[in-house]
């Protein structure tokens, strides 16, 4: 026995397989439904992946809602540092993401580009956390004696359906602007390429992102879309490349609670795919009025 341990080289050692679980409220549970599916790439199964249920959606929304106000109350500087920290952690795990993207059928060169851009994108939005407000807010010169200003506030809980074809960069390109302003989100990973989403959850879990701020499910959008688009506690939905039929169904259900629905069908590798207007897409404009005292002869002068 001792001998075999000493001699255990790479070749004859049995590999420890990773169990791909979901990420809800900062923890890694299996689906409560105990169901699974096997995404297949080039005839090879990626493994047993959780098939999220309606109840998982609901649990995730509860987690996201519970985390939202505290996340929004963090200072913009702190959110910026946490987004930067995600990038740092992702950088350190590049090799693992490369391996998984390759397993998911992405070409090597494209996978490397996708990882590099994902890291840079996080840093891009980390920088925006304490700047978008200055770009998009306004002090409004009303025609009365009032101080009036408009600022952006996070819309609340956002449900993100990640890109099917761009499993890491597409995912991060939506999560980053959504959480930059203080939203929390539930993300449904690409059905056929869920591995990088789950590994990204491990990055999040070690990046000082509070539990519940990002929740990641794996499963089938066709099965879950009715549940998240009708959910009373989801404020907005971001979808990417689902096709007209699903988009329409989601928008119809979303109308029952006047949800904001943003449909993106874009090439996330383009530089223009990263911009602060994506942060604004998941913000509400709040306008505040307050009277200004007007007393004759009380004005300052030089």
């Amino acid at each position: 026995m001792t001998e075999s341990n000493e001699n255990s080289g790479k070749s004859d050692r049995l590999e420890v397989l990773k169990t791909y679980k979901m990420y809800i409220d900062g923890k890694f549970p299996r689906t409560e439904s105990a169901r699974y599916y096997q995404p297949v790439v080039d005839g090879t199964s990626l493994g047993n992946v959780c098939l999220a249920s309606r109840k998982d959606v609901r649990n995730s929304v509860v987690a996201a809602r519970s985390a939202q106000s505290a996340w929004a109350r963090r200072t913009a500087y702190n959110r910026a540092q946490i987004l930067y920290r995600i990038a740092e952690m992702l950088e350190g795990r590049s090799q693992q993401f490369l391996d998984e993207l390759l397993r998911q059928g992405v070409e090597a060169e494209s996978a490397e580009t996708q990882i590099a851009k994902s890291i840079d994108r996080l840093i891009y939005y980390a920088g925006w956390c304490d700047k978008y407000q200055q770009v998009f807010s306004s002090v409004n010169p009303v025609a009365s004696s009032h101080f009036n200003f408009s600022t952006l506030e996070p819309v609340g809980v956002v449900f993100v359906v990640a890109s099917r074809d761009c499993p890491l960069l597409g995912l991060i390109s939506l999560i980053a602007p959504v959480i930059a302003s203080g939203n929390t989100c539930v993300v449904l990973a690409s059905e056929n390429s869920p591995l990088s989403a789950i590994t990204f959850a491990e990055v999040l879990a070690t990046s000082d992102v509070p539990g519940g701020v990002v929740n990641i499910l794996t499963g089938r959008v066709e099965e879950l879309s009715e549940h998240f688009s009708r959910h009373l506690d989801v404020n907005a939905i971001a979808c990417d490349g689902l096709g007209a039929e699903l988009d329409t169904m989601i928008k119809e259900f979303a109308s029952e609670t006047i949800k904001r629905v943003k449909i993106y069908n874009q090439d996330w590798s383009a530089e223009a795919a990263a911009n602060p207007y994506l942060i604004q897409d998941f913000c509400e404009v709040k306008t505040t009025w307050h009277p200004i005292e007007q007393i004759t002869e009380s004005g300052a002068s030089y």
Partner: protein, 482 residues
């Protein structure tokens, strides 16, 4: 004790109606001309204060809507989109000026048609409508400064559906940003209050706008639905009930139409024990009885800190007793006529519901005119969070009062509604104001004031009060591809 101030009755001061010009019947305004459709379908617009018929208005057909959209499309593809922003702006400036010149006529017609006090039409609705046109006129040639690193472009034909509570003002809120950004418009005013929109169409004609840039079709809900569903409409802007807003959002789900919705509200107006109470009472009255409570952002849920509840309600009842309810054309009138028979029935039904739910009912004592539709300023105290009058939008002069003890409690109660249009906070403590205004899930928050509007100030809701903003820089993006 009576809250009547009978020693201080004011002599009648009616505004003259002699100088206004109204036609006996109005066609639809399409492609720069008023046209009388062959179908000849019309309905009457009445004065809700007297029941008198003011004019007959066209019930547009779907063919009329088709023609209006076609005219708007032709105008968009033609002169209007090729015109520089500076010239577009000058048309809007001209319209703003002409509206100011005719402000008295517009104010009188607005009050006759909608029942709102002449003081409000004269001092709020008409000047604000002109100010909106003037404000957005100036944006027309400056759009690239509004959206950093972008080259904003117009969307196309905007279908705009507006409510009956601020008819002219809502028309201006819709038309001004749409035209400034280079879009063309098909506007549908509400069926009970179409006259000032039709008068505005006359003004647009008089101002020499290219034909088809603004088209006005009148009629009931199915006319609005025809606009929303029209294949050649690129953008829908709606102000009205949340119920209809949901139908609109659903009906365009399968399209790429852009949409903004400004829907209902059930605003919390919160008074802390350190507030200036007399000032707060004025704000409460302005918050719920302004425009007969026909205001989507009305402060219809009053939250009073428990320690000042009795004192504040006493003062509020006294103030309610001094409100002058009656003839909208009288310059002293504070509360005018309810807009329609249907709306009066809705309000009266809610008052019954409030009584049945066990809230304590109070109405100011005042004489009401015999003809027309009227509702006394109404107050319910001892209201529970679960009561329908505390949850549903009544859209009338009915205030539901609840109490609270702590800041945390009132934040929870105030936000516990599907709506999120507006809120009010009354306190003399600055840090509390910033906390409260930040915590309110509402698009407009008034601190130590209420129900103020300005063209530079974005207006619009969170949650089921709609999406998109009207007014200010933020109001531009509703009409641009950015």
């Amino acid at each position: 004790m009576t809250h009547q101030n009978s020693n201080w009755d004011l002599s009648p001061a009616p505004e003259s109606t002699g100088h206004i010009s109204l036609k006996e019947h109005y066609g639809v305004f399409i492609d720069g001309e008023f046209r009388t459709p062959d179908h000849g379908n019309r309905f009457q617009s009445i004065n809700p204060a007297t029941g008198e018929v003011l004019a007959e208005i066209t019930e547009s057909s779907s063919q009329d809507v088709d023609r209006a959209v076609a005219a708007a499309r032709a105008a968009y593809e033609g002169e209007w989109s090729k015109m520089g922003g500076r010239e577009r702006g000058k048309y809007l400036y001209r319209l703003a000026r002409m509206l100011q010149e005719k402000s008295r006529e517009f104010a009188v017609i607005e009050s006759l048609d909608g029942g709102k006090p002449i003081r409000e039409s004269r001092d709020v609705d008409v000047p604000l409508a002109a100010a909106h046109l003037f404000y957005y006129a100036g944006w027309a040639d400056k759009l690239s400064y509004a959206f950093p690193n972008r080259n904003p472009q117009p969307i196309g034909v905007a279908g705009q559906i507006i409510p009956w509570n601020f008819p002219l003002l809502m028309a201006a809120w819709k038309i001004a940003p749409a035209l400034a950004t280079g879009n063309t418009v098909v506007l549908k005013p509400a069926e009970t209050t179409s006259l000032t929109a039709l008068k505005l169409a006359e003004l647009i004609q008089e101002a020499g706008f290219p034909p088809g840039v603004v088209n006005v079709v009148t009629g009931h809900g199915d006319v609005g639905a025809a606009i929303v569903k029209h294949d050649d409409v690129d953008k829908v802007a709606f102000t009205g009930s949340t119920e209809v807003g949901k139908l609109i959002q659903k009906s365009i789900a399968g399209t790429n139409k852009r949409c903004t919705l400004e829907l209902g509200g059930k605003a919390a107006n919160i008074v802390f024990d350190d507030a200036a109470i007399d000032q707060a009472v004025e704000g409460i009255v302005n918050g719920i009885y302004f425009n007969q409570g026909h205001v989507c952002c009305a402060g219809s849920r009053l939250f009073v800190q428990e320690s000042i509840h009795d004192q504040l309600i006493e003062k509020l009842k006294h103030r309610m007793g001094t409100l002058i309810v009656g003839d909208p054309m009288d310059k002293n009138t504070d509360v005018g006529a309810i807009n329609s028979r249907e709306q009066l029935a809705t309000i009266e039904q809610y008052i019954e519901v409030g009584k049945q739910e066990g809230a304590e009912f109070y109405q100011a004592e005042c004489q009401l005119p015999e003809a027309g539709f009227w509702c006394r300023p109404t107050l319910f105290t001892d209201v529970a969070q679960s009561n329908r009058i505390a949850q549903e939008e009544i859209f009338g002069p009915v205030l539901a009062v609840q109490t609270f003890r702590t800041v945390a409690e009132v934040i929870k109660k105030a936000n516990n509604t599907p709506y999120g249009l507006s809120a009010g906070v009354w306190t003399d403590k600055g840090s509390k104001i910033f906390n409260m205004t930040a915590q309110m899930k509402a698009g407009v928050v008034w601190a130590n004031t209420y129900n103020l509007f300005d063209p530079t100030s974005p207006f619009g809701g969170f949650k089921e009060s709609g999406f998109g903003r009207e007014g200010g820089l933020h109001g531009l993006s509703a009409y641009l591809e950015i």
